[in-house]
């Protein structure tokens, strides 16, 4: 999940996927999933290439991309933090995880979810199904449970150290 902020789209990669996955309308979701797993989001150039080189129309591509919460049209940080907002996590303090992590990543603008240095993006996700370990977050691929706000900060700092990232508000 280590992606640079602005993705450089190579047309042959996209065309390769259309070839492999298919260019009919039922391939829309898997195609967009492939693009997003490569770039971390759906870059405009990639969307254009899909629309021009398959049977998928612009309205369908963007219709699907904006309907499903998994898809992002904005670039993301090099790592993604997913904070679970299932019921169990909600009643046991998922909000506090968000506040504490936004704090040490120095994200204060409410519209923003990515740290300014491009290190981490914080996402809220629907239930990831670890309700008995609530509250839960996923940093890159690591699922972490039973967190307090402070424990979430410690986990993030550890992840940052291991991945040569700088967490701005080191305490």
């Amino acid at each position: 999940m280590e992606k640079a902020l602005e993705a450089k789209v190579e047309p042959e990669v996209i065309l390769g996927w259309i070839e492999k996955i298919g260019g009919d309308s039922s391939s829309t979701v898997p195609l967009l999933q492939a693009v997003q797993s490569e770039y971390g989001y759906l870059p405009r150039e990639a969307m254009d290439l899909i629309i021009q080189n398959s049977d998928i129309t612009g309205s369908q591509a963007y219709g699907v991309a904006t309907f499903y919460s998994q898809f992002r049209l904005k670039p993301v940080g090099r790592h993604i933090i997913r904070i679970c907002h299932g019921t169990a996590c909600h009643v046991s303090g998922a909000d506090r995880l968000k506040t504490s992590l936004r704090h040490i990543l120095n994200i204060s603008d409410e519209e923003q979810d990515t740290a300014e240095n491009g290190s981490y993006t914080i996402e809220e996700v629907a239930c990831i199904g670890c309700c008995s370990q609530a509250p839960v977050m996923v940093v890159s691929e690591d699922v972490l449970g039973n967190l307090s706000g402070a424990a979430a900060q410690r986990a993030l700092k550890k992840h940052a150290r291991q991945n040569d990232e700088i967490v701005t508000n080191i305490l």
Partner: protein, 592 residues
């Protein structure tokens, strides 16, 4: 004896991973790089994670719970004859089979969950050793599709995804409808926040689901299946994919299965994050590559479904019961349960409960028995207030109704629904208004937008609830909530909209006093709603440790380090996030 003689089995479902299974495995490897470690799915004792089983070379099984890297050396030393038994962590051993911890499983009746946590999900031979794929063999060799449907009819199995429609009826429609190809879809889009049995089954016992799909496909005459699995469940996608490939190798999937003229194949479709796709027609639209929006029924999918062909959609848990029903007979399944609801149901128990995890009990069990005999009661010691059943489509059942039996009609009578089986337990620290707002925000966000009342009505309800939580509401707003509840239920096409007001309706019915406290007294009884609470520091208790100051994200706390009682909170800056409360070791911060 050296550690090479030990077989170590570590539970590695997503919940095991969340609790730190990787560290535990590393700790075993650190001790002995050659040690024999296998991983299994989640047994559903989530409160005991990380769970580790040791098989010694005498064939004895020892099960340990809450294992951390610090406990690993103790376990190894004991099994090498060098130390004492780490009793605190022992769940089960040849000598200890009646511990409290073990009773968690002992008090359950496991049919759908019969294999999870007891076998390696990546091993088809593990599944076969546990009588796996015998049911489909029996079906292919000895039964007609009508007989299979008859057996399921005898079991009285109803769809476990939430709606509870009799499985055999659905199959009959598809069996009878004409089509050159029929599709079978496994609905693994477990979107209810708070339910995780489908995840556990797909991760921990994927072959069971494949066998269930094979049985269903044979019954309706389908040759092509899809497993629609949520994108949030990467491990389920991985394990299920491996299981499909392994089944192919043994000709259990593919053309002419086990030498018969029955052919069936399964493709995985990953969901992309839309709750509404749990609805059948929305799920079909999603597989077809469209926005996942429900359409009007009829025609039902059994007549005209995926790509216009007859299609059956069965939930993961429903499918998980099928091999057992075929092997043991429908009557054996129907022997469990009540007149109204037969068999067993899996619940995902979480929240303010001592022993959370997956619980499978016969229908007709009282809610109280699930919470107390299996769940061990309140985790905080504070009295339990309610359980939330059925997620965003369900409702809250108050403590005074905990003697309600778990069966479709009785649960519906409370205003909640059985749903897919999420059971979130709440004590007095949960604000019911905040909870209702949480669910309404969820459904409002997930509404596909097709029906006006669902699209706008849920937004209005969310706004009203926010007003109440912020202490800005008037009593008339409660009437407006009642009115919207009726309108949204009546004017929505699919289950999402029809049930969206349920969390509000049930909390208003049973916890009206909490709503009134917010409106009339501007007070949140559970001290949750941020606009109605304050955080203050008691100077006499404050040790001056400065932790709260360090943690405060808005610099609202000032004081002098190491000077007792010097810290105070600037209420104008404070956002009531609760970080200071959480880190204060001397309990010097009060929330009111």
């Amino acid at each position: 004896m050296d550690a090479d003689n030990l077989n170590v089995i570590v539970g590695e479902g997503t919940c095991g991973i969340a609790a730190g299974s990787k560290e535990v495995i590393d700790a075993f490897r650190k001790y002995d790089p050659e040690i024999n470690i296998r991983t299994v799915g989640c047994v559903g004792m989530c409160h005991q994670e990380v769970i580790t089983e040791i098989n010694d070379n005498n064939g004895n099984r020892f099960l340990y719970g809450q294992v951390t890297k610090q406990v690993v050396p103790k376990i190894i030393r004991y099994h090498m004859g060098e130390g004492n038994l780490p009793k605190d962590h022992l769940i089960f051993s040849p000598e200890e089979q009646s511990s409290d911890k073990w009773q968690y499983l002992g008090n359950q009746t496991r049919i759908a969950l019969r294999n999870v946590g007891l076998m390696d999900p990546a091993s088809i031979s593990d599944y076969q050793q546990r009588d796996g794929y015998k049911a489909i063999k029996k079906v292919i060799e000895d039964m007609t599709p009508e007989q299979v449907i008859g057996e399921v009819e005898a079991s009285h199995l109803r769809g476990r995804g939430g709606a509870g429609f009799p499985t055999h009826l659905k199959w009959n429609f598809a069996r009878q409808s004409e089509g050159d190809i029929k599709y079978l879809i496994c609905n693994g889009d477990e979107g209810d926040p708070g339910a995780f049995m489908d995840r556990s089954l797909l991760e921990g016992d994927p072959h069971n689901i494949i066998e269930g799909m094979l049985i269903a496909a044979y019954a309706i005459g389908s040759s092509m299946g899809y497993a629609y699995i949520r994108a949030e469940y990467p491990l389920a996608v991985k394990n299920f994919g491996k299981a499909i490939a392994d089944a192919h190798e043994q000709n259990i999937l593919g053309k002419n299965i086990l030498g018969s003229d029955f052919s069936f194949d399964i493709k995985i479709k990953e969901g992309a994050g839309a709750f509404v796709c749990g609805e059948e027609t929305a799920l079909i639209a999603s597989i077809e590559g469209e926005r996942g929006m429900p359409r009007f029924k009829p025609p039902f999918p059994a007549i005209k479904g995926l790509f216009g062909k007859p299609t059956i959609i069965n939930n993961v848990e429903t499918l998980a019961n099928l091999p057992w029903i075929i092997s043991n007979g429908g009557a054996a399944y129907a022997a469990y349960g009540t007149e109204d609801s037969k068999g067993t149901k899996v619940f995902a128990l979480a929240g303010a409960i001592k022993k959370g995890g997956l619980v499978e009990v016969p229908m007709g069990t009282k809610i109280r028995d699930v919470l107390e005999s299996i769940g061990g009661g309140s985790s905080s010691g504070k009295p339990l207030k309610a359980v939330q059943l059925g997620g965003p489509s369900g409702g809250c059942i108050p403590e005074k109704l905990f003697d309600t039996t778990i069966e479709y009609a009785a649960i519906n009578a409370t205003g909640a629904i059985m749903g897919s089986g999420g059971m979130i337990v709440m004590d007095e620290t949960t604000c019911m208004v905040d909870l209702a707002r949480y669910f309404l925000s969820f459904t409002q966000q997930e509404s596909c937008g097709k029906c006006t009342f669902c699209r706008i009505g849920t937004l209005r309800m969310k706004e009203l609830l926010t007003k109440i939580c912020d202490g800005n509401a008037v009593m008339g707003d409660l009437d407006a909530l009642d009115e919207l509840t009726e309108q949204i239920k009546k004017a929505s096409l699919c289950g999402l909209g029809q049930t969206a007001p349920n969390p509000v309706a049930t909390t208003l019915k049973y916890f009206r006093n909490e709503y009134e406290a917010h409106i009339k007294d501007k007070r949140c009884p559970a001290a949750v709603c941020k606009s109605l609470i304050t955080h203050t520091i008691i100077p006499d208790t404050c040790t001056g440790c400065s932790l709260c100051d360090i943690q405060c994200p808005v610099d609202a706390i000032t004081g002098q380090k190491k000077v007792k009682g010097s810290y105070s909170i600037d209420q104008a800056k404070c956002i009531n996030c609760g970080m200071c409360f959480e880190v204060c070791n001397s309990k010097a911060i009060v929330v009111e």
